[in-house]
């Protein structure tokens, strides 16, 4: 496995694609949380909440709903902390996977399709300017944008609509006015290219 090498003095970003140190630090916080250590859980929240909340917000759009979904998600993390299996991926991956599914469930169950389409604006991703953090996170966002930039515009739009927009692939096909089979293929090709442009960090 190859990692993007951080510049001297920088920490690699926490989470998916993070160093094993970061990942095991999160795993340690989670383990202590599992035994009821609320302070560790608070630290886990501090380290991960911008990623989790930001992703949920991007999908559901409405800040109060995003807060609600995020809260549900952390409750689930707390309750199920003993069920996390490090063999299967990092803590942040686990949390983000959970959060994304919850966000998507929320928008789909409450879907007033016409309303959402009129509000749709994901093609111009909002800058994460409020993220008061660290150079590290900014750099990670930059890397991801760069990797997304290596995709064809159809691939990128399809992936953003699906992941950040929370749309199904059928809806993505309609948005982009392409056949359903093409949408499936673009999503898959695009992700494979994205994976490869991240440097083949496969597991």
């Amino acid at each position: 496995m190859r990692h993007i090498t951080p510049a001297p003095g920088e920490r690699p970003p926490a989470g998916a694609g993070a160093s094993s140190d970061e990942a095991s630090a999160l795993a340690a916080l989670l383990r202590r949380s599992a035994r009821g250590d609320a302070d560790s859980f608070a630290r886990l929240y501090d380290v991960t909440s911008a990623r989790v909340y930001g992703l949920v917000l991007r999908v559901v759009r409405d800040p109060s709903q995003a807060a609600e979904v995020t809260q549900d998600c952390y409750l689930q993390v707390w309750q199920q902390s003993t069920r996390f299996d490090a063999e299967r991926g990092s803590v942040l991956s686990w949390m983000l996977t959970m959060a994304h599914r919850r966000a998507v469930d929320r928008v789909r169950s409450a879907q007033a399709a016409t309303e959402r389409e009129s509000r749709y604006a994901v093609r111009e991703p909002r800058e994460a300017r409020d993220v008061g953090e660290t150079v590290v996170d900014v750099l990670e966002a930059e890397r991801v944008r760069k990797a997304l930039g290596t995709l064809t515009s159809i691939q990128r739009e399809a992936i953003e609509l699906a992941y950040l927009g929370g749309y199904t692939h059928t809806e993505v096909a309609r948005f982009l006015d392409i056949p359903l089979g093409t949408a499936k293929t673009r999503l898959r090709d695009g992700l494979i290219r994205l994976r490869d442009s991240f440097g083949g960090e496969r597991r």
Binding site: A16, A38, A42, Y45, D46, S49, Y53, G54, L57, R58, P63, A67, T70, Q71, Y74, L75, Q76, W78, Q79, Q80, S81, T82, R83, D85, R88, G89, W94, T97, M98, H100, R101, V104, R126, A128, V131, G132, D137, E140, R143, V144, R145, A147, L148, I159, A162, L164, T168, H169, K184, T185, R186, R188, D189, I192, L194, R195, F198, E201, R202, R203
Partner: protein
């Protein structure tokens, strides 16, 4: 990627949570039997999660207090006992979140243990059941009739098998056994003591000559008992199994002459150990 390319092509949409509800359960059933897709899902998931770096934004400060307040009144679940089979327990409420495929075994066990999460779980399982049924209609569903044990024929889309499968998927004690390297064809056996039923999801079955059928066997104490005969046009099918599969240690499928055999005579094309640990 030789068969059913359209199913393989869904890995991307799956990782992005972009499958239609009706497709999700069917694709997860496919993941059970397709190591290629499991590996692909695993390999792209990390990349997908990194996308969230571009949307990172600090939550409202009051959310922190609210979360910490909330969890203060909730007890973390105890650890699960060690798992002894291919399944694991991650993402109890999140069947689709698990790279290795869905794992109804633990989901069902969990449901008994934890009332708090049963609603969502039930909903997923109901959706899964409906979706699998829909998917099976599409691939050609074979029903094993039990009126004459040796002349049971596959019948297209019978409603009783839909019901039986739906009940099986809903079973509180659903067990799933995925085939391993020792099986020529890929597949999984689903079984529940509560419903007393079992089903096999099969893929990559070899072609049949005319005058041949597939026959499923439930094997306990090295004695095979027929679990029904079936055919499939495209090598992929899901069938409800007949007879007493509940105590079987192995479920196998062989190729037999039309009408089936009393004892297996042909090559074993699928097998999976179903001994309870």
């Amino acid at each position: 990627m030789t068969d059913n390319d359209s199913t393989h092509a869904l890995t991307g949409a799956y990782v992005l949570d972009a499958l239609e509800p009706g497709e999700l359960a069917a694709f997860e059933a496919h993941l059970f039997v397709c190591p290629d897709c499991r590996e692909e899902v695993r390999s792209v998931r990390t990349a997908v999660l990194r996308i969230s770096a571009v949307s990172a934004i600090e939550p409202p400060p009051e959310l922190r207090a609210s979360v910490l307040d909330l969890i203060a009144g909730v007890r973390p679940l105890p650890p699960l006992p060690e798992q002894t089979d291919v399944q694991d327990d991650r993402g109890v409420e999140e069947p689709a979140a698990v790279d290795g495929g869905p794992r109804p075994i633990d989901l069902a066990a969990e449901r008994d243990r934890r009332d708090g999460h049963s609603r969502r779980l039930n909903r997923w399982r109901a959706v899964a059941a409906a979706a699998v049924v829909v998917a099976l209609v599409a691939v050609g569903w074979g029903l094993l009739r039990d009126d004459d044990p040796l002349s049971r024929e596959a019948v297209a889309v019978p409603s009783e098998s839909e019901v039986a499968l739906a009940e099986l998927l809903e079973a509180p004690d659903l067990e799933v056994y995925a085939s391993g390297e020792d099986s020529a064809s890929r597949g999984a056996v689903l079984r529940s003591e509560a419903t007393g039923t079992a089903a096999a999801i099969l893929q990559d079955l070899p072609g049949l000559q005319s005058g041949q059928v597939f026959q499923a066997w439930a094997i306990a104490d090295e004695a095979p008992v027929s679990a029904g005969v079936f055919e499939t046009g495209d090598g992929a099918t899901t069938v409800m199994l007949e007879g007493d599969v509940g105590t079987a240690e192995v479920v196998a499928v062989t190729i037999e002459p039309d009408g089936g055999s009393d004892q297996p005579t042909g090559d074993i094309v699928f097998q999976v150990a179903t001994a309870t640990s």
